[in-house]
C-alpha cells in the first residue's frame, strides 16, 4: 500500500503531462455536471465565461510568464470571430466546426506574427503601444469593408446543425436531449480545456522556461543562449492564437461578429481579469473570467437600486474592475491565486516548523522560490518541482 502511494506520488511529481491531463479530465467532469444542472440562460452565460477564460488564459501566459502586456486581445478575438463568421455564413456551410476554429486560430496567429515581429522583439512599451493601436484600428476595418464585413451591423453567424454522434453521445451520458445553448456551452468549455492543457504544458516546457528566463533577467537569459526577440515574439504569438480560439467561440456563442463587441474596453477588462486572478496563473484567469461574466449584473443592479439610470449604472462594472486592478497592483501584486497560495505555503511552513523544530521548514521542496511581492512571478510554476527533468 505504501509502495503504491509512493509510486503514485512519484508519477504525480514526474509526469507533468499526465498530471495536466488528469486535472483536465476532472475539469471536464465538473463542466458536464454544472452544465447539465443549469438552465439554458446560465448555459449561455457559462459559454461566455469560457471564451473570456480562453482569452484571459492566453493573456496571462504572455503577461505572467513573459512580462509583456497586450492591450489588443479584444481585437485579436475580433479577428478570430470575423474569420468564424465568414466561414459559417449560411446553413449549407459545410466546413466542420473544428476546422472553422482551427482556421480562426491560424488567421489570428498570422496577425499575431505580423504585429509581434514588429513590436515584441523590442524591449519596453512597444508591444503595449502596438497592441493598443491594433485595438483601436480593428473596428475601423470592419466599418471600411462594409460589403464583406457587414459594417456597423456586423456579420451573423449560422451555427451548423449538431452532429448526430454528439446528440447520441450526450443522450447516452446524461439521458437528456442536448439543447442548442448547452451544445454551444460544451463547445466553448471543451475548447477551454484543450487550450489550457496546451498552455499549461507549454509553460512547463523548455519554451516556457525560456519565456520566464527572459522575463526575470534579460542579460542572464541571453548569456545562457536564449534569443530574446524570438522568446518574446513566440510568447505573443501563442497568446494571440488563444485569443483567436476565444474569438471563434465568442462568435459561435453570440452568433454575431460586430465592431461594437470588440471595443478597447474588452481588451482592458480582459487585462484586469488577468491581474485580478494573478498573473501567470491559468486558474486565476478562470476566476477573472468568472468575475467578468457574473459581476456586471450584480453591480449594475446595485447601481440602479442606488438611483442611477440604467446607462450610467452599466458603467459601474468597469469602474469596479479598474479600482480593483489599481488596488491589486498596489496592495497584492500576486493577485487572488498568488496571494492565497503564498498564505497557504506560509501556514504550512509555520506548522512544520512548530512540529519539528529545526531545518524541516527550509528543506521543504515546495517552498516558493520567489517571494510573492514580485507580481510577475508565477507561484504555480516556480516551485522547485518546476525544473523536474
Amino acid at each position: 500500500m505504501a509502495a503504491l502511494r509512493a509510486r503514485a506520488s512519484a508519477w504525480w511529481a514526474g509526469s507533468i503531462l499526465g498530471r495536466h491531463l488528469l486535472v483536465a479530465l476532472l475539469g471536464l467532469v465538473v463542466v458536464v455536471v454544472v452544465l447539465e444542472s443549469s438552465s439554458d440562460f446560465r448555459n449561455l452565460q457559462l459559454a461566455s465565461m469560457a471564451y473570456l477564460g480562453i482569452a484571459a488564459g492566453g493573456l496571462t501566459v504572455l503577461t505572467g510568464l513573459n512580462g509583456q502586456i497586450s492591450l489588443g486581445h479584444g481585437a485579436l478575438m475580433a479577428i478570430g470571430a470575423y474569420t468564424t463568421a465568414l466561414l459559417l455564413d449560411d446553413r449549407e456551410a459545410s466546413t466542420p466546426l473544428p476546422l472553422v476554429v482551427l482556421a480562426a486560430v491560424v488567421v489570428t496567429l498570422l496577425v499575431g506574427i505580423a504585429v509581434g515581429a514588429a513590436a515584441a522583439r523590442l524591449h519596453g512599451p512597444y508591444l503595449a503601444g502596438a497592441t493598443l493601436a491594433l485595438a483601436v484600428a480593428v473596428p475601423g476595418i470592419a466599418l471600411y469593408f462594409k460589403e464583406q464585413l457587414g459594417g456597423e451591423q456586423g456579420l451573423r453567424v449560422v451555427l451548423p446543425d449538431i452532429p448526430a454522434w454528439v446528440l447520441d453521445l450526450a443522450f447516452f451520458v446524461t439521458g437528456q436531449d442536448l439543447t442548442r445553448s448547452r451544445y454551444v456551452a460544451y463547445l466553448a468549455w471543451v475548447t477551454l480545456v484543450i487550450t489550457f492543457v496546451l498552455l499549461a504544458n507549454l509553460s512547463r516546457s523548455r519554451v516556457g522556461r525560456r519565456w520566464r528566463a527572459v522575463r526575470d533577467d534579460e542579460v542572464a537569459a541571453e548569456l545562457a543562449g536564449v534569443h530574446l526577440g524570438r522568446a518574446r515574439v513566440s510568447a505573443f504569438v501563442v497568446s494571440a492564437a488563444a485569443a483567436g480560439a476565444a474569438g471563434a467561440m465568442m462568435a459561435v456563442t453570440v452568433r454575431l461578429a460586430a465592431p461594437s463587441g470588440f471595443t478597447l474596453t474588452l481588451s482592458l477588462t480582459l487585462l484586469s481579469a488577468v491581474v485580478l486572478g494573478g498573473l501567470g496563473s491559468l486558474a486565476g484567469a478562470l476566476i477573472g473570467a468568472a468575475l467578468l461574466t457574473f459581476l456586471p449584473q450584480v453591480v449594475t443592479d446595485l447601481g440602479v437600486d442606488a438611483g442611477l439610470s440604467d446607462i450610467r449604472a452599466a458603467e459601474l462594472a468597469p469602474l469596479v474592475y479598474g479600482v480593483v486592478m489599481v488596488l491589486v497592483i498596489l496592495l497584492a501584486p500576486a493577485g487572488i491565486v498568488g496571494t492565497v497560495r503564498t498564505a497557504l505555503v506560509k501556514r504550512r511552513l509555520r506548522r512544520s516548523a512548530v512540529a519539528q523544530t529545526g531545518g524541516a521548514a527550509t528543506t521543504d521542496p515546495t517552498s516558493p522560490a520567489t517571494p510573492a511581492t514580485d507580481p510577475a512571478t508565477d507561484p504555480a510554476t516556480t516551485t522547485s518541482k518546476g525544473s523536474t527533468t
Binding site: T63, G67, Q68, I69, L71, A114, V115, A117, A118, A119, L122, H123, G124, P125, Y126, A128, G129, A130, L132, A133, L134, V136, A137, V138, G140, I141, L143, Y144, E218, V219, E222, L228, L264, T265, L268, T269, L271, S272, V275, L308, I311, R312, E315, L316, P318, L319, Y321, G322, V323, M325, V326, I329, L330, P333, D374, P375, A376
Partner: protein, 292 residues
C-alpha cells in the same frame, strides 16, 4: 489641388495636437520610464471640467484656464498617490497601473457626466477662411490651435533650458541617484514633471474637443496617435515627438482624405510597425541603439 492644400492644412493642425500629446507622453517617459496610457482619459476628464463650467454660463477662457489647472492638479495627485509606490519596481506594474487608471477615469466620467456625445464650444470660428474667393481649410480655431501648441512648446523649452528648476528636472530624469546626492528633491521634480505633462495633455484634449463632440472615449484614439508620434521621434526626444506628431498628422490626414476616415487608426498601426521594423530607435536615431 485645392483638396491637396486643404488636406495638408488639416493635417498640420491635427499634427500640432498630436505633437502636444506625444510631448506629454515623452515628458513622463523620460522622467519615470512609464508610458502613461492614462493620459487620454486624464485629458478627457479635464475637458469635461471645462464643459461643466461653460454649461454653467461662464466664459470659454475661464473654462480653458480651469481645465489646465485641473490637469496640473490631477497629474500631480496621480503621480504622488498612485504612481509613486510602483516607481522603481517592475516596469509591468507601472503600465498595468496606468491602464487601471484608464479604466477608472473612463468609467467615472461615464457615471458622472453621462455616456452620450456632447458638443464642445470653440472660441473662434470653425469655418474656413476665404482667400481669393475659395475657402481653405484653415479655420480661426485651427490657427489658435497651432499658436497655442507653439507657445506651450516655447514655454517648456524656456523652462527646461533657462531656469534652475528645469535644470533640476532634467537632472532627476537623467540620473535620479546623483541628482539626489547633489541636493535635488527628486520626488518633487517627478511630481512636477507629471503635472506639466498632464497640463500639455489637457491642452491637447481641449484643442481636439473645440468645435466638436466630446464623450468619455473621445481621446482614446489620440493616445494611440500620440504614442505612434512619440515612437516616430524616438520616444526619448521632445524634439522628435514634435516632428513625429506633425508627420503623423499629415500622413493620417491624407489617409482620411483620400482613402477613408475609418482606416486612419489602421494607418497609424501600419506606420508604427514600419518604424519599429525599419528604424526602431526612431527616425532620428544616430546609431542602432539597443538597451538590454
Amino acid at each position: 489641388m485645392q483638396q491637396l492644400l486643404n488636406t495638408a492644412l488639416g493635417g498640420l493642425t491635427l499634427g500640432m495636437v498630436y505633437a502636444a500629446f506625444a510631448l506629454a507622453l515623452v515628458l513622463i517617459w523620460r522622467s519615470t520610464r512609464v508610458v502613461n496610457f492614462a493620459q487620454a482619459p486624464m485629458a478627457m476628464v479635464t475637458t469635461f471640467v471645462a464643459l461643466v463650467i461653460v454649461d454653467a454660463g461662464h466664459s470659454y477662457w475661464l473654462a480653458f484656464a480651469a481645465a489646465l489647472a485641473s490637469g496640473l492638479v490631477l497629474g500631480a495627485v496621480i503621480e504622488r498617490v498612485v504612481v509613486r509606490p510602483v516607481e522603481g519596481g517592475p516596469e509591468i506594474n507601472a503600465v498595468i497601473l496606468t491602464l487601471g487608471l484608464f479604466i477608472v477615469l473612463h468609467a467615472l466620467a461615464a457615471v458622472i457626466f453621462g455616456n452620450r456625445y456632447r458638443s464642445f464650444p470653440a472660441p473662434f470660428g470653425v469655418r474656413g477662411i476665404e482667400v481669393g474667393g475659395t475657402t481653405i481649410a484653415l479655420t480661426g480655431f485651427g490657427i489658435f490651435t497651432i499658436l497655442a501648441v507653439l507657445v506651450t512648446m516655447g514655454l517648456l523649452l524656456l523652462l527646461f533650458q533657462r531656469t534652475d528648476i528645469g535644470l533640476r528636472m532634467r537632472a532627476s530624469a537623467f540620473n535620479p541617484e546623483v541628482a539626489r546626492l547633489l541636493g535635488v528633491r527628486v520626488g518633487r521634480m517627478l511630481t512636477l514633471g507629471w503635472a506639466l505633462a498632464s497640463v500639455v495633455g489637457s491642452l491637447a484634449g481641449l484643442l481636439i474637443a473645440g468645435g466638436s463632440l466630446v464623450h468619455p472615449g473621445y481621446m482614446d484614439s489620440v493616445v494611440v496617435y500620440g504614442f505612434v508620434a512619440a515612437v516616430l521621434g524616438g520616444l526619448d526626444s521632445p524634439f522628435g515627438a514634435v516632428v513625429g506628431g506633425l508627420l503623423l498628422g499629415l500622413a493620417l490626414s491624407f489617409v482620411s482624405g483620400y482613402v477613408g476616415s475609418q482606416l486612419v487608426a489602421l494607418a497609424a498601426l501600419v506606420i508604427l510597425m514600419l518604424v519599429l521594423v525599419l528604424r526602431p530607435g526612431g527616425l532620428f536615431a544616430q546609431t542602432a541603439a539597443r538597451r538590454v
